[in-house]
Amino acid sequence: MATLSMGKPQMMRRPLLGWTIHDGLVVARRNLIQTVRIPEMLFFSLVQPVIFVLLFAYVFGGAIPIPGDAGADAYRNYLMPGIFGQTVAFAAAASTVGLAEDMHKGIIDRFRALPMSPPAVLVGRTLADAVRQILVLAVLSITGFIVGWRISNGLLPAIGAYALLLLFAYTVAWIGSWIGLHMPNPETANTAGLAWLFPLTFLSNAFVPISSMPTWLQAFAAYNPVSTVVLASRELFGNPTGIQPDYWPLQHASLYTLISCAVLIAIFATLAVRKYTRTTSR
């Protein structure tokens, strides 16, 4: 057996933030390679929202009136940003399950024994999960286009809408990561990762106008960032928005979305990084 070179290779020096970005990108790349290597998973993660589009557009669509817009395609145009919002919200579940699996398989242990930047595993995870949503949004947009959805407010606002949706995906990925770090095993993560997302996305304006809800629910739905990111997208895409009840977040949908994303990232990134550095993964 030939001898292996043994010495002390020079480790590079850089400020901590530089390393967090560098290591975060290394981990994000790894997570994205996984996506490519399991095309089945990506395929099925796309199938569900596509089915939702078809279901709502053709089955429920006729039964849900959009106040203030009587056009024939009103519901489909109203629906698409809702589906976008719901779908990117579910990015959080991928983060939860992904982290739980990494802990379960012990690779997190190896990461934690490396001199890498502690937040990097989480930065990479959330980044990759958000980036994956670009493809998801593209497929959904094409599906929407086929069933009659149109962007009618120009390109720049549309790009703004997609950017907001991706920011929201990145935000929920942090929440999902924080949950994932608490999971005892991937099976639990599968369930817990989804449980909170159903009420969160359905208690919003994603599928039905808020004005059709009982008053006490309206308040919750109005402050739910899912509602505001969906409403902001509708405005930016030039889709029907329905008539909005009198709540500040709904009157400043884009601004409220930006603020709530910033606050949520600050809170959950802090909690998740703290949990990560303390966690004694099993």
């Binding site: 292996l4 043994m6 010495g7 390393w19 290394v26 790349r29 290597r37």
Partner: protein
């Protein structure tokens, strides 16, 4: 003074709720030395390694690795060590090469160095042909090798190996022993854990036997063997219901208390082959049939038996199974 020591641990205690996984472990490993941490399931081997590799904080006690405190200078420790955990910790969907490059990048080594080093390791571990296949497709032995390769990317001077050969077939095990011996010959300090007495005997100069979170013996394999006396006689009775009679017969020729395991009785003796004759007479007088009767040097098994009062294997079944809590990379 701890500067020259690769590992120095004093009174390590770690509790998990009511479980006292470590109950005051003292351990020193000099630079360039190979120390084997030997113990049955649940002895605290993994817990010790996890504390030394900064993955777990001790409840009490302190430890330095490469002269750095594992709690207060975790980052410096991490820069000095390589860790191969009990379960292969590689990314299944990445290829062997991608795995090595990823870990190299996370050690903050230059991309050029990481590239060259990855090729060198793939070659050395005989993984070049499989380098572009996802690790998912690797056999258990290949995974283990990739796992070990990953911990060598940064050429660590201190290596922790937690049960490196568990689950490998005899050939892969020998191959891995070769690799470890090679690393040691080049000056790497190794702390390895094992449940295999033979493995500790083969690889380690110094053996630390632990049981229930405590060090119960310490020394070279020769010293440990001497500790329980010279040669041993060992008989297997054909009819295990006569085991008590067999023990009585063996006791009449032995210098110490016989140990019983299934249909086997063993005991320390002095006097070479003359005791064999005496033993046969004693057994024959009682009409006890034996299927096997030998005189041999003590093995570490005997050491373990006489130190703990139970065989290493026995303890294995006595502890509730923890294996498989983390599937070894199965999906």
């Amino acid at each position: 003074m701890t500067r020259d020591l690769a590992v120095h641990a004093e009174g390590l205690v770690r509790t998990f709720g009511d479980v006292r996984a470590l109950d005051g472990i003292d351990l020193t490993v000099e630079r360039g030395q190979v120390v084997g941490l030997l113990g049955p399931n649940g002895a605290g081997k993994t817990t010790t390694v996890r504390i030394l590799s900064t993955l777990l904080a001790p409840t009490a006690g302190r430890a330095t690795v490469a002269g750095f405190d594992v709690v207060k200078q975790a980052d410096e420790v991490r820069r000095s060590i390589g860790l191969t955990g009990q379960y292969a910790a590689i990314d299944e969907y990445l290829t062997g090469r991608e795995n090595l490059r990823m870990f190299g990048g996370l050690y903050h080594l230059s991309p050029k160095y990481v590239k060259e080093r990855s090729e060198e390791l793939l070659d050395w571990f005989d993984l070049s042909d499989a380098a572009d296949r996802p690790a998912k497709t690797y056999s258990g032995g290949m995974r283990r090798r990739l796992d070990l390769a990953a911990s060598l990317v940064a050429q660590p001077s201190i290596l922790f190996l937690d049960e490196p050969t568990t689950g490998l077939d005899p050939r892969s095990r020998l191959g891995l022993w070769d690799v470890i011996n090679n690393l040691v010959a080049q000056g790497t300090t190794v702390l390895l854990t094992t449940q295999y007495l033979e493995e500790a005997d083969q690889l380690a100069q110094d053996i630390v036997v632990i049981d229930q979170g405590r060090v119960i013996a310490h020394g070279t394999s020769e010293e440990l063997k001497d500790q329980i006396g010279g040669d041993r006689i060992e008989i297997h009775v054909t009819d295990s219901s006569r085991i008590d009679d067999a023990v009585r017969a063996v006791r009449s020729v032995s210098t110490g208390e016989p140990l019983v395991e299934d249909s086997r009785v063993s005991a320390p003796v002095t006097g070479g082959s003359t005791v064999l004759v005496a033993a046969i007479r004693a057994l024959d007088a009682d009409g006890i049939e034996v299927s096997d009767l030998v005189l041999r040097r003590p093995t570490l098994d005997d050491v373990f038996m006489s130190l703990t009062g139970h065989a290493a294997e026995e303890a294995t079944t006595a502890t509730p199974p923890k294996k498989g809590r983390r599937g070894r990379g199965s999906k």
